[in-house]
Amino acid sequence: MSNVILSVMRRDLLIARRRQVEALLPLGFFVVSAGLFPIGVGPEAHVLRQIAPGVVWVCALLAAMLSVTQMFASDHQDGSLEQMLLAPQPLVGVVLGKVLAHWLSSGLPLVVAAPLLGVLFDMHAGSIAWLAFSLLLGTPILSLLGAVGAALTLGLRSGAALVFLLVLPLTIPALIFGTGAVLAVDGGQSPQAHLSLLGALLIVTALGAPWATASALRISMD
């Protein structure tokens, strides 16, 4: 199983590295969309500081959904996904490898870029660190849930737009706990409760979503 996960992950990361611009598009979207908020709501520092965690988190959600449709699309087009379904190796392993590769290539860059946006939004240093940490726990959830949506909408004409509609409602708990952690720090409290819940959410999602994705792939390729 771990062999499958690693080899699929290595393959997808290699593909991502060969198409660097395409892999970094979600990051570009993340920075641009978050950068629009100060222009839209005005440059007052206290307002920006207040909305920063929510804005960064929502933009991360949208950026993740934007890239997640690509997880299976090209493999579906050239037929290699069919081979993966027929292969004796467990499909869940393939899914996990793909999710890991997606997170490393488009989720992790968001975590790295988040402190920069935090500075742009005039956040305190302590809040910035917890924002990055909450995204570190939260972005894998987005990749995992996004994989379910991507598998369900595989090959559909309106697939890209549908993923937003299907997956975003399911990510709301992650959004609540992720931003809640940062807001707790801002309010002088410990972020531990929110982060624990976010961690629990990550574990539950990691246990359920790969199997749901594998079933969705079988349904879609039936």
Binding site: L166, P169, A212, A216, D222
Partner: protein
């Protein structure tokens, strides 16, 4: 109705055949509409004229006779929809999948009515149309889940894939139902706690009577809508079968002709 008569002995799976379900549902629909209207008239009469005015909320509280049944059913319909969708997926039963699909729009409408009447009640009572309170937010998410389910099943042309993908999505969404239910306890919020409890209620008798009448009226409405819609879906998906063709010549219309 001769499809019913043709069947000598009823088995538990008898009505999982679309043709027989179609006939049975057709028999039930007028009765369900009648029950819906009669119970609604009675319930609204008791609720609007007989039930006393509330001491603190005045007449604004009367919206609960619509709000509570709609809220309860919109949650329940999601569970029932997920159940039949899963049944259709596991046992490859077409009728169960069709029925799940027929339930979705009614559930979405009732969720919308819940939010709408809730905001009508919130304005005079809380002084605002909308609060991002945990339970309201959960219902908002429930509405999004319904819309997602409808959008997904409509977007997929292949009948089998559409049904099974919808089932998977509905099952994933079921995780949301307990969150709705427990959200009131999890977060400290504006929404008032439950009034109807398993052991005794804090409600006046006529209010309770009206509530029950409206509850059954909404229930009948749900069946009427779901049966009517599933009959339409059956005709659409079974347009090529002999019995639908026989039906169309008998009734003088041609459902197969609308969809090549």
């Amino acid at each position: 109705m001769n499809y019913l008569a043709q069947q000598p002995g009823l088995r538990w799976s008898t009505f999982s055949a679309p043709s027989r379900f179609y006939a049975l549902a057709g028999l039930c629909v007028p009765w369900m509409w009648a029950a819906c209207v009669l119970l609604a008239v009675a319930g609204l009469y008791v609720g609007l004229f007989l039930a006393p005015t509330d001491a603190t909320q005045h007449d604004a509280y009367r919206v609960i006779f619509i709000h509570v049944p709609a809220a309860l059913l919109s949650m329940l319909i999601y569970l029932v929809m997920a159940f039949w969708a899963a049944w259709g997926w596991i046992f490859n039963a077409r009728m169960a999948s069709m029925y799940a699909r027929a339930l979705a729009p009614t559930g979405a409408v009732l969720t919308f009515i819940t939010l709408w009447t809730g905001s009508l009640w919130g304005k005079p009572t809380w002084g605002t149309w909308w609060v991002w309170d945990a339970r309201i937010t959960s219902y908002f998410i429930l509405l999004l889940l319904y819309i997602g389910y409808i959008a997904l099943t409509e977007a997929i042309d292949d009948v089998r894939r559409s049904a099974h993908a919808g089932a998977l999505l509905a099952l994933v969404g079921v995780v949301n139902i307990p969150i709705i239910y427990f959200s009131v306890r999890w977060w400290n919020t504006l929404h008032q706690g439950q009034t109807i409890k398993m052991t005794g209620t804090s409600m006046e008798q006529t209010m309770r009577l009206s509530m029950w009448l409206m509850m059954f009226s909404f229930w009948a409405y749900t069946f009427a809508m779901a049966f009517t819609r599933s009959r339409a879906i059956v005709l659409e998906q079974e347009a090529d079968t002999e019995w639908v063709k026989a039906l169309s010549t008998e009734k003088g219309f041609n459902p197969a002709g609308t969809k090549p």
